[in-house]
Each structure stands twice: as structure tokens, then as C-alpha cells.
Amino acid sequence: MAKPKVATTSLAGCFGCHMSLLDIDDRILKLVELVDFDKSPVDDIKEFTGRCAVGLIEGGCANEENVRVLQDFRRHCDILISVGDCAINGGIPAMRNAVPLKECFQEAYSTDNRLGPAVYNPDNQIPNDPEIPLLLDKVYPCHEVVKIDYHLPGCPPPADTLWEALVALLSDKPVALPYELIKYD
């Protein structure tokens, strides 16, 4: 029987959650025995090659591309997991949610009124290349955009948490994480 497939992505995240996944150390060898990786930065596969059992999502949705990738994940994965606080709550990127989008741009790019940092931008242009995805009005947690089946909190969630959750899901067992793995204080 073919191995189940796992896909991963980093939306508006810092890749810290992916780093944590790599922190399972030598268990990565066991994981590769258990599953094949599909679309993921781990193997650099850019498009889905088929149906996946599990999709791991790092980061929330800050721009249109994030939304489309997430939508693609929902279409292709049986189970979607929001991994880490950015996926679950929006995290650090969502700090901009209290500021109107226009002001965010000005702060970042404009040299007017000394608003922006030391950017040489005499025409006060806001980057507007069709290649650059448009920003959303605010950063959305993933479950507000598509249905999410599981949430693994943490910034990032510890490697053991990711490991235990993945193994349980892939072997059809209930995800019963011990208290130490989901306590954060």
C-alpha cells in the first residue's frame, strides 16, 4: 500500500514552525518511512501531485497568495492542522490589524513627513507590481478562511508535540497529547 502523503507550507509565518518540525531530529527518518512528503518547502515540491492525508499550515493569511495556497491545501488534504500561533491567531503579523492598511504602507515605504524609515523613495511609491500579491485588509487566522481540523498551539509548538500529533493521526489514533506537550507558561 502506498504511504500516506503529508504536505506543509509557510504562509505569513517565520519558518520557525518548520524548524521545530526538523527538530524531531533522527525521528525524521522514521517519519520518512511512515509518509511521503508532497508539496512542501522540505522537498521543494511546488504543486500538489495528489491527495494528501495531512496538511500542516504555518502562519496566517496576510495576502491573497496566502489565501489561495490555503484554499489549495483545503482542496487537497483530508486533515488540515494549524501549526503555531501565527496560523491559529495571526500572531506577530496580525499586529498590523489595528492600523489601517494605507498607514502600514506609508510607514514602510514613504519618506514623506519622515514617516517611513530610511528608504530612498522620492516619489513615495507604494510597490504595485502585479507579481506582488495584494495584501488583505487584515491578517486572518487560518480557520477564518478555511475549515481547520486541528490546532497545535505554541510559538513554535515543540518538536515532540508535532511528532506525537502526526504519528497519532497517521496511525488513526486519537490525538491525546499529554499535558506537558500543550502547556505554555
Binding site: E64, R74, F105, V145
Partner: protein, 605 residues
């Protein structure tokens, strides 16, 4: 100004005996005089009645008609309930806004006029209606609204706005209002001629137990909505230990669509006072209080006049009607715009000078009510029925109506019908017969019992109105086939969200969640599990809420799901969303700002 705030408050408090349980009267008087109860005023009141500032503040912040911030000399409160909306209150609202140059919740810069919205003010049969200070303005139109503002700008005296006077006592100099009674069907219990004292005289010839026995034999049940057997309630109160007992009359009439007590208070208050005196005799009370909703303040002078006449005629006072040792008098307590105060334990709290929070039960008011004393609380109409039962005998009364619901019931009918108004009908009457009476055409839905009751569809028009089938405290709202039951349910949910006292979480939070989900469905963002969600959350709120408000507040949604499920399902099916997205996520809306800044559409659009 010759009078300082301090001396004014001293006078007002002294007039109420510096009694902190009369807090409502004190703060209402201050509000009327100064247009607000300022922080300074609250401190002074607290000192005067020997309590803490927070006690005063909790009252002032609770009631819609009281405020810490100054309001205009004139406060316009436009009813924005569903019936008024159907009769065009939105264009009236626009006209008020334009002519005044302010939005709702604001005061004109000169501090003269404040504009507000309010739920049902009991004028549904002559909607759209507004309360301007204590004056009632009925049959509003946008033209009339503009004219009102112009007049008020010239002379900020709302009394001058009263147009052609209404019928009956509305035209008396004591009431002087343009309200119409709209009595469409006068039955023999409430609206037949009465000789003041007839029922009371018969009662005083019996002993108290015999009076209660007669009320029980008549099988009288409460007319306020819940339908509790009146005789049983009185018996409990009579037997409860306590030297001092009270009779409270619930004239709060807050359930949207109910206005029958208004008509009783205008035309038949004698009957009500008589019933209260009979209750006083039966349970051994010497004091009665009528809790009158703030919206009906315009009726107070008339009621005081009737009370004065009854005192004069020895129908109140000491040794009533020559009965040695039976002393009974009645005072009026004004409410201040809170629906929850119609709930009997909240009503008691309010009479005690507290926030209108319901109390835990047990103990029931019959054991521990007003000021901790055994108390009977009955609806206006219930007391009227008692007076008639004692006048004509329980057999006469019990012969009318249906098996489990004896006697007649006043219905207040509004909405899509040619003859809105008050109808006295025998219990057991079919909905269809009621619709015929009021000349309703093309009726698609009827809300029986107000928002806390139920919305029924055509297949239930054969059911009868009585406690066993369709219970109502009097509210019957008629909707024709052009109306959307979901929008109506949403309006009712807004009402409950606004009027929840906030004490318990299921009601305070749950109703908001129900309303938000309903909003989503109406906006085409519903998804398949939503009806299950609404039903299970609704059941939780009903089971876990502390008082009758929370226990009935999910009804607008639950009964429309039950009786109009297909309307919900059609809405949910029509609102198909892009594959994979949550129904509540709108990618186009989320991108709008960025598209505006970029000056172009998304490349994926």
C-alpha cells in the same frame, strides 16, 4: 439660579423620606429637573439617603430613561420595533436626522434636542409612534417629523406638539393625548359598565379565604403571559408568615406588540384598583403599588385622579367601605424604560430602588417579595378580572372561555391588518377567527405572545389561543406574505440582546451568538450545520438562563426554524461560497482596501 443642586437634591430626597428604597423616584426627579443625574448629583443623593455612590450609579446606568451624561431638554424616542418599521419608521427616522442634523444617540449642539431609538412603546396600533419627553406622538410620517422638529426649535415644549386628541379619556384634560384606544371588540368582562365598589363590596362580605376560593373556582389564570393560577398564588401569599404584605400590579407592559393594559389604564383603571384592593383584603396587605412603565407616564395624572376619587369614596384608605380594620392604599411607582422590569422579581428590585435585576427563586415573591415581605404580583388585566369575578360570581366567569383557560382575554393586534387595536375575546378562539376579526389579508405568519412567544405559519391558524395551545399575554402581530420572517426574527433577537440585564452568561452572551449566526444566514453566509448550531445553542440558553427573559429569548429563532424551516434552508442553499472557503470569509471584501490603494483589481479577480 437661586436653587443649588445640593438644596434641590435635599428637597427631592426629603420628599421621599430620605428612603433609599425610593431611589427610583429620587433619580427620576433629578433626571427630569436637570436632564441627567451627574456624578455630583449621585454623590449628593448617596449622602442624603445614607448609601454609597455606587448604589446610585448602578441604578442610573441601568435604566434607558436615566443618564449620567446630560440629555437635551427634549428627548425624542422613536419606536424602531418591527411594527413601526413596517409602517414606515425608517423614513421618519431619516427625516428626524436630517432636520435635526444629528444621528440617533446624539444631542443637538445647542443641547436642546436629543434623538434616540426605543423598542415598542405600546402604540403599535397607531405606528409609527414616538415618545417626546412624556408626550406620545402617533401616526408619524416624515412630513410630521419635520414639522415637529421645526416647532420644537421655536418652542421646546413637547406638550404643544399634541395634535388632534384621541377618544375617550385620552381627550380629558388630565391625559390630553392624541392616543386612540382602538377598542374594536368590547367584551363583557373588561369593557362592560362598572359601578366602582360593586366587586369590592361583595368581597368584603366574605372572609379572605372565601374570596380566594371564588378566584380559584373561577379558574382565573394570570393575564401577564405565564398563566399561573391566581387563586393559588394568593393562597401562598396569605399563608406566608409576615406582618406586612404587599400587592403589586404589573403595568410594565413591555412585551413588544402588547398595548391592552394601556387601554385598561386609560378607560378602566377603576377595575384594576378594585381588584388590587380585593387582593389586599384576601392576602392581608395594606399597601398596593402599581408599577407603571415610564412610557405611560402620560397616564399618571389620570390614574392619580382616579385614586384620589377612590380615597374620597372610601374605596381606599382606612376601614375601606366601612369594613373595620381593613386599610388599603395604593401608590404608583414609575419605571424608567427597561423591559426586564416586567419580570416580577426584577419589578420588585426596581420598586426597592435597585437595578432591575431579577432575583433568584426560591424564595418566590409569595414568601419573600417586596422588601422581603410576602408579595402578590399580578398583571393589570388579572386584577380587573378579579373585580368582575367578585362582582358577578365565579360561575359566570368560568362559563366563558375554554376548559383550561376560563374567561376572556384582551388581545392587542397589530401589523398587517385593517383594524389593529384591542379585542376582548373568549379564550379558545382560533387564530383564523382572530385574523377575520381584524380584517387581515394574505396573512403568512402570526407572532403570538410577542418576541418571547412563537411565530406560527398558516398550518397553525386553526389552533386556538389559550394557555394549553397558543399562550399570549396579549400580543398578536400579523405579517403578510411580503414580510421576511428571518428579518423579523433578527429584530426580535436585537431586542433581547439589548434588554438582557446581563446577569447571567447564557443570556448575555448566548443571544449575541444567536443573532450573529442569524445575521450570517440572512447575508447569505449560512452553512449546512448552522440550523443545528442555532437549535442546540438556543436549547442551552433556555435551560441555563436565570429568568424568564433568557428562558424565552431564543424563541424567535427556534420557532421560526420549527415553522419556517424552508425559508432558512433556501437562504443557506442560495448563499453558495467559493469552494473550500468558510462561508463567513469574503475574499473580495478582504482585498478591497488593497485594490483601492493599488488602483487595480486583483490579478485573480
Amino acid at each position: 439660579m437661586s436653587e443649588t443642586l445640593e438644596s434641590a437634591i435635599r428637597d427631592i430626597s426629603q420628599a421621599c423620606g430620605n428612603d433609599r428604597s425610593r431611589m427610583m423616584d429620587i433619580v427620576e426627579a433629578v433626571q427630569a429637573k436637570y436632564g441627567c443625574v451627574s456624578g455630583e448629583a449621585m454623590d449628593l443623593i448617596a449622602k442624603q439617603v445614607s448609601t454609597h455612590r455606587v448604589e446610585v450609579e448602578s441604578v442610573v446606568s441601568f435604566y434607558a430613561f436615566l443618564s449620567e451624561q446630560p440629555k437635551g431638554k427634549v428627548v425624542i424616542r422613536l419606536c424602531d420595533d418591527i411594527i413601526d418599521e413596517m409602517k414606515g419608521s425608517e423614513s421618519v427616522a431619516e427625516a428626524f436626522k436630517q432636520e435635526l442634523g444629528i444621528d440617533f444617540g446624539e444631542t443637538t449642539p445647542d443641547g436642546v434636542i436629543t434623538l434616540e431609538k426605543t423598542p415598542c412603546i405600546g402604540m403599535c396600533d397607531q405606528a409609527p409612534a414616538a415618545l417626546i419627553n412624556n408626550e406620545i406622538i402617533t401616526y408619524l410620517s416624515s412630513d410630521l417629523a419635520r414639522e415637529i422638529v421645526r416647532k420644537l426649535k421655536k418652542n421646546p415644549d413637547p406638550k404643544k406638539l399634541v395634535g388632534r386628541l384621541g377618544d375617550g379619556n385620552n381627550a380629558s384634560h388630565l391625559v390630553h393625548s392624541m392616543v386612540h384606544n382602538n377598542i374594536r371588540l368590547a367584551g363583557e368582562v373588561i369593557f362592560s359598565e362598572m359601578a366602582p365598589g360593586a366587586g369590592l363590596k361583595n368581597a368584603l362580605a366574605l372572609n379572605p379565604q372565601e374570596v380566594i376560593r371564588d378566584v380559584k373556582t373561577a379558574r382565573l389564570r394570570g393575564r401577564g403571559g405565564a398563566g399561573f393560577p391566581t387563586g393559588m398564588k394568593w393562597d401562598f401569599t396569605r399563608q406566608a408568615t409576615g406582618d406586612k404584605k404587599y400587592v403589586l400590579c404589573n403595568a410594565d407592559e413591555g412585551e413588544p406588540g402588547t398595548f391592552k393594559d394601556r387601554v385598561i389604564l386609560t378607560e378602566k383603571s377603576d377595575l384594576m384598583f378594585e381588584g388590587m384592593a380585593i387582593a389586599g383584603y384576601a392576602i392581608g396587605a395594606d399597601t398596593g403599588i402599581v408599577y407603571l412603565r415610564g412610557e405611560y407616564a402620560y397616564l399618571r395624572p389620570l390614574l392619580e385622579d382616579v385614586l384620589a376619587r377612590r380615597r374620597n369614596d372610601n374605596l381606599l384608605g382606612n376601614d375601606v367601605m366601612g369594613k373595620k380594620g381593613f386599610n388599603f392604599d395604593i401608590r404608583i411607582q414609575m419605571g424608567a424604560g427597561a423591559y426586564i422590569c416586567g419580570e416580577e422579581t426584577a419589578l420588585i428590585s426596581s420598586c426597592e430602588g435597585l437595578r432591575g435585576d431579577p432575583k433568584n427563586r426560591p424564595p418566590f415573591p409569595a414568601q419573600k417579595g417586596y422588601l422581603g415581605c410576602p408579595t402578590v404580583v399580578n398583571n393589570v388585566e388579572t386584577f380587573c378580572k378579579v373585580a368582575r369575578i367578585l362582582e358577578h360570581g365565579p360561575g359566570w366567569f368560568a362559563k366563558m372561555g375554554s376548559e383550561g383557560s376560563s374567561g376572556t382575554k384582551l388581545l392587542s393586534i397589530s401589523g398587517d391588518c385593517a383594524k389593529p387595536g384591542v379585542y376582548e375575546v373568549p379564550f379558545g378562539i382560533k387564530v383564523r377567527e382572530v385574523l377575520d376579526l381584524c380584517d387581515a389579508e394574505d396573512t403568512a405568519a402570526v407572532q403570538v405572545g410577542g418576541p418571547s412567544g412563537q411565530m406560527i405559519g398558516m398550518n397553525q391558524f386553526g389552533d386556538s389561543i389559550c394557555y394549553e395551545h397558543l399562550a399570549t399575554g396579549g400580543s398578536v402581530m400579523v405579517f403578510n406574505s411580503t414580510r421576511d420572517v428571518l428579518t423579523i426574527a433578527r429584530k426580535f433577537m436585537e431586542f433581547f440582546v439589548e434588554e438582557s440585564c446581563g446577569f447571567c452568561t447564557p443570556c448575555r452572551v448566548g443571544n449575541v451568538l444567536l443573532k450573529e449566526k442569524l445575521d450570517d444566514i440572512i447575508e447569505g453566509k449560512g452553512k449546512s450545520g448552522d440550523l443545528d448550531y442555532l437549535e442546540s445553542l438556543g436549547a442551552t440558553i433556555k435551560a441555563a438562563s436565570r429568568c424568564g427573559l433568557g428562558q424565552t429569548s431564543p424563541n424567535p429563532i427556534l420557532t421560526t426554524i420549527k415553522n419556517f424551516r424552508s425559508v432558512y434552508e433556501a437562504k443557506i442553499a442560495a448563499g453558495k461560497v467559493e469552494e473550500g472557503f468558510q462561508p463567513t470569509f469574503d475574499i473580495h471584501a478582504a482585498l478591497q482596501t488593497a485594490e483601492g490603494i493599488a488602483g487595480r483589481k486583483s490579478v485573480h479577480a
